[in-house]
């Protein structure tokens, strides 16, 4: 399997006034293979969504590159870049309430991609929209309705249909399930899995629900304050975390099993994710890390492969 998408030291800063800079994404290098699902996890404010949006060109890149099938994508997208790449890359947004235009009918929302990116006439667009609505578990006659007539889970399906109707190769799913109830989450996850099998999709799956990411993903990448701290096979990272932050994150994830929970020591760590404005040098996790050393406060650890396991970790414990 070849690499489909690769980011190389991708960086995105936001200037927020005099000498104030949000280091939202800092030098993230991540390669995604064809037909692979990569789960990206981290706390809110860690830069997961910014990374996803930068990859599909919704933010321009402060530094670094994104290449798609070996082709380097522009630093800042022009309208024609969106026009060209929209058929290959798509995004499913987090909030199913604010990501659908309330003044457009479902048929217009889902069919808009086809109208802009193919020469299909309106009759065949209508036909395809109907097909996709049934594929995502809605009905063809929902086409003439408006978004407010749907529940959260149904809207999320509309978002999925809209993203997939152009049959893209690569889709960024930004927290596609976090706004949904447990029973509906499973519906959406299974739908994505089914479509992946059928269409050979490659997914970047951004979420903060660790159990779900482990279940869905082939590989898992853990992000903290704009940088990747650990990348590896999803099951291995979950059951055998190497980076102290991953350990804390997984230790804090409550398991739906009372016996496991009773036997587990409290792993809550002090403090919260620091502000990404003007980040100090050194490891970004140093001030919360239970195993911090002197070197951590001085130099920033690189994301390096471990010797005996298939894993990349950015931590001085392993250098």
């Amino acid at each position: 399997m070849g690499k489909l998408l690769e980011t190389n030291e991708l960086t995105r800063y936001f200037d927020i006034g005099r000498n104030q800079r949000v280091h939202a994404v800092e030098q993230v290098s991540l390669a995604i293979d064809e037909k692979e699902i990569v789960g990206l996890v981290g706390e809110s404010g860690s830069g997961k969504s910014t990374f996803g949006k930068t990859v599909v060109g919704l933010h321009h890149k402060t530094a670094g590159t994104v290449s798609y099938r070996g082709e380097q994508l522009p630093q800042k997208y022009e309208p024609r870049d969106f026009q060209r790449l929209a058929t290959k890359m798509q995004m499913i947004f987090q909030d199913p309430y604010s990501s659908l235009n309330p003044r457009m009918t479902v048929g217009e929302i889902v069919g808009e991609g086809l109208r802009l990116h193919s020469d299909a006439n309106s009759a065949s667009i209508k036909e395809q929209v109907a097909v996709w609505l049934t594929k995502v578990g809605l009905q063809a006659d929902h086409m003439s309705r408006y978004p407010h007539e749907f529940s959260g889970g149904q809207r999320q399906r509309l978002g999925i249909a809209r993203a997939l109707i152009l049959e893209p190769e690569f889709v960024v799913c930004d927290e596609p399930i976090s706004a949904l109830d447990v029973s509906v989450q499973a519906q959406v996850i299974n739908l994505l899995g089914e479509l992946k099998e059928r269409m050979g999709l490659t997914l970047l799956f951004i979420a903060h629900d660790l159990s779900m990411v482990r279940y869905v993903s082939d590989r898992m990448a853990v992000m903290y304050l704009g940088s990747l701290v650990e990348v590896g096979k999803a099951n291995e990272v979950y059951f055998d975390p190497k980076h102290p932050y991953t350990e804390v994150l997984i230790g804090s994830n409550p398991e739906p099993d009372p016996q496991v929970e009773r036997g587990r020591p409290s792993t809550a760590i002090q403090g919260e994710i620091p502000s990404p404005v003007n980040v100090p040098p050194g490891c970004r996790f140093a001030n919360r890390c239970p195993r911090v050393m002197d070197v951590c406060r001085q130099s920033t650890p690189e994301l390096i492969p471990l010797k005996d396991v298939d894993r990349h970790v950015a931590c001085h414990l392993y250098t």
Partner: protein
């Protein structure tokens, strides 16, 4: 049924019986809660689980007198705190119920706090109202409470406004405010849903520590079975305005009897490498509570549904001292036995 739940010698701190709440809307009358019974013991945690719209928040809010009437209406039921009725009353033996006896924390601390008052003033307010302290005493007590909630530099933080706090810190401040009058019951309505897992772990630890220190009972409303497993002593599973299964946390997790509880568990990934399963979503959506079904509310989505389920509402079948499930499958004439349900679930 309350006799059965009272088998333990320990008298119940709070007993809710047959509580029903409805709302008038333009579209008709929504029967949000349709006869709910539960009880809480001192120092114990009851978790109420269910998906959005199942009535879990409404049932506790009606107890607190937080339902606007109209459009809301409590049509039947009683809630007794240490044997005395609290529904429709503001005071109990000279002590206000809301705030002093039962207090509450909410899902979204940012919108639950007053943005124009400092955190310290907001915590001091109930102390002045309920305990009659002077402003100065109350503010000092507020700082103590913030320290109890493990907020660093409490004296400085008390003078800050909500926008200067992060989500986790605000939730701690909410907890400090909720415990300020030493309530006997703390109701936590999705207290960690808006927080990250690391912060969630901190807040849950804090709630458990405070419960050990003060002996208060906690009613935890959540949809996260992981949080339930971690916190709860007893669990009530709600669906479409009714409690469908109730039992100790072990009963509900290891001897799940109601098809909805089984369905919820099958819809979540578990992290036990020995017991991996495909996620099985619950198809369909909850019933319309404008016209609730005559029979079992879960019938339309239930894989084990029988003819009787659609027409008649099942009674509560007791499977243990504290464990009941409201499902026709437990009836002696049922073709599928609950034991077979467990078996199916485990294999």
């Amino acid at each position: 049924m309350s006799e059965a739940l009272n088998l333990a010698n320990n008298p119940m701190l709070l007993e809710v019986e047959n509580l029903a709440v409805e709302f008038d809307t333009y579209g008709g009358v929504v029967k949000a809660v349709r006869g709910v019974d539960f009880s809480v013991e001192e120092g114990k945690t009851l978790a109420i689980v269910g998906e959005s719209g199942c009535g879990k928040s409404v049932s506790v809010q009606s107890m607190m007198g937080l339902i606007h009437m109209p459009p809301g209406r409590i049509t039947s039921g009683s809630a007794r705190l240490r044997g005395e009725e609290v529904l429709g009353r503001n005071e109990l033996n000279g002590k206000e119920i809301r705030g002093a006896e039962i207090s509450m924390i909410f899902q979204d601390p940012m919108t639950s706090l007053n943005p124009t008052m400092t955190i310290g003033d907001q915590i001091a307010e109930p102390l002045q109202v309920h305990r009659g302290l002077s402003y100065r005493q109350a503010f000092g007590e507020a700082i103590n409470l913030l320290e109890m909630s493990k907020i660093p530099e409490a004296a400085k933080r008390a003078k800050q406004f909500p926008f200067e706090f992060s989500g986790g810190m605000l939730q701690r401040a909410m907890i400090a405010m909720a415990i300020s009058c030493k309530p006997s019951i703390l109701i936590a309505d999705e207290p960690t849903t808006a927080l990250d897992v690391t912060i969630q772990a901190q807040i849950l630890d804090l709630m458990q520590d405070l419960q050990k220190e003060t002996g208060m009972a906690i009613i935890l409303i959540t949809h996260d079975l992981g949080v339930v497993a971690r916190m709860a002593d007893e669990v009530a599973v709600m669906y479409a305005g009714k409690i469908v299964e109730h039992g100790t946390v072990d009963d509900v997790f290891y001897r799940s009897a109601h098809p909805y509880t089984l369905g919820l568990r099958a819809a979540m990934p578990n992290n036990d490498p020995a017991r991996q399963h495909e996620l099985k979503p619950i198809e369909g959506s909850p019933p319309d509570l404008f016209a609730p079904p005559k029979g079992c509310g879960y019938c339309a989505r239930c894989p084990f549904a029988m003819e009787v389920c659609d027409k008649h509402h099942p009674q509560d079948y007791f499977l243990g001292d504290h464990h009941f499930s409201c499902c026709w499958l437990h009836h002696s004439d049922s073709p599928t036995k609950p034991e077979e349900l467990y078996f199916k679930e485990n294999s």
